[in-house]
Symmetry: C2
Subunit: 372 residues, 2 copies
Amino acid sequence: MTLRFTQNATDGPARAGTIETAHGPIETPVFMPVGTAGTVKAMTADAVRATGANIILGNTYHLMLRPGAERVAALGGLHRMMDWPGPILTDSGGFQVMSLTKLRQMDADGVTFQSHIDGSRHRLTPARSIEIQHLLDATITMALDECTPFPATEEQARESMALSMRWAVQSKAAFVPREGYGLFGIVQGSVFSDLRKISADALTKIGFDGYAIGGLAVGEGQEKMFSVLDATIPYLPAEQARYLMGVGTPDDLIGAVARGVDMFDCVIPTRAGRTARAYTSRGVFNLRNARFAADARPLDADCTCPACARHARAYLHHLFRAEEMLGPMLLTWHNLHYYQQLMRGLRTAIVERRLAAHAAALRAGWEAGDEP
Amino acid sequence: MTLRFTQNATDGPARAGTIETAHGPIETPVFMPVGTAGTVKAMTADAVRATGANIILGNTYHLMLRPGAERVAALGGLHRMMDWPGPILTDSGGFQVMSLTKLRQMDADGVTFQSHIDGSRHRLTPARSIEIQHLLDATITMALDECTPFPATEEQARESMALSMRWAVQSKAAFVPREGYGLFGIVQGSVFSDLRKISADALTKIGFDGYAIGGLAVGEGQEKMFSVLDATIPYLPAEQARYLMGVGTPDDLIGAVARGVDMFDCVIPTRAGRTARAYTSRGVFNLRNARFAADARPLDADCTCPACARHARAYLHHLFRAEEMLGPMLLTWHNLHYYQQLMRGLRTAIVERRLAAHAAALRAGWEAGDEP
């Protein structure tokens, strides 16, 4: 093992742990802000740190196209380029190739595609994906997989999963183990429990530093997502970290943490922040709404971020109405702060073995909604 | 006098001073970042402070339309709304009414116009402008004037200036003196030296806490602008601050400081920052330029701002190419930092009576250009 995961406490299937990495420790359960193109949108690196985040995610697809993996390497790697000395996880690029490119051709060995930026042709194979992530200096590298489209028949899902398992072998073969760096495999199998078990077993046999659950949050709904977690997590080794990719809302995070997931990434807090939606202890608000125009109260009285500690809701409303960049900046900051605060709360609740009560209190706050 | 200006040192006509205000002292010569609509674009208030700025400017025209002066007052004033407890100068709104609105009608008492935002009708008179600035809680209030269009005949300039002088009387009558707050008059007269003298004398007779020189940087060119300063400043009282409105480039600032100007505001550093143009000790760079794509050096080796201290030029180039918000954020920060550093350098040079040599060294750096 080149990444050490320590389970510090449990509360039912939920666990609080620490991943030791070459770029510092990660306390789990953890939420990773998404820094797609070498920046968490609308945030300086200092601001991301100030929210309490200690690991961020980078997108291999975007970075390989612009500025280019070799360019990032020449600039000292992603950590140095973006002023983020802490841990960085990069995805494999496969998901974005399928979701962002128009012209692409899959084969048994990889995928050939045209850049959505300039139409240039590129090829991604398991070995090239791992090489790119190495050039980026990813603390945690993801195996190349195919994110099975949803919905899929069981046969489609089986074939897609089998391809991902072959690519997982090739990804592992291409990965250069280094102390404090790690490679994660990705469980696929759509919503089919037996396929998920086969995939989890296959990956465990290959052996990874952590295990991701992919192919979820693609339209199947929270209930199905949770049932896939229930059908998958028992087959993943307890001594490694588990990462639910691309998830989710605060409620998704609570449910997945309760089921034993340790790591998450999602564009929700950053994207919502840019579109005036705020996640708060009293639910989701749209700051463009006219009801905030004269509201002198802080966005979330329970929050200590700059948007909440120093400004009125009416000011945030004004910034979005006036299309000032500071609106997205402050609301992204708030949402990321809220997500980090949520994860800190979950960690503490697990250590104190009161996760269920804590989760119920959080949900009650969202349901109560805004004070009149 | 409700604002105290102390001249601490002189070097020829140039002077270093301090303005004591209700919101803290202002060291002059000073550059005021422009916070048009209640935010310095692309900057948090903390970031503005970190550049060394200690006074910012707000635009009455924008704020009266959105969120509205009464709204700002209800939120505790502009300082509290935007988290800027330091001094704030607001303009009178007149300049933007003339430059931004399509339908407007001037008369002897004021101007009636339609909002560029929603077409709503508004009226600005000297008394209303002063009232709005009071509602905003401006530390320094500007008299309502007409910024004489350029070019203008001497007769046009005389009539326009005469109107501004009548409005200056009305502005003074409407202003509520408070300790640490002040009202500035604005010298007009286009490029005509005799009109500038008449205007300066008229304002001095009325008596203000400071004197602005308006109607410049409107296309007359640097040489004419400097000759207007030479023809105006001798007629302004030495014991009050002098403010050159809407100026300018670093070279403009040096020339005006050398002629005895104490205060400046301009959108150049913020607007340039949003469009990839960087002001540096080696001149102006456009970060979109392909020559920066692989340039691992800091933007300006002489600068300690986050853009320069923590990132490569290639990263800034990448951010603008990828249209990431962090590009404008970092480059605005840099440009404002550069302007503040420039003003600090000028202050020190005046105190040490070596302004001419310091200015020559700065200009030599710009002319030398970027190292290969």
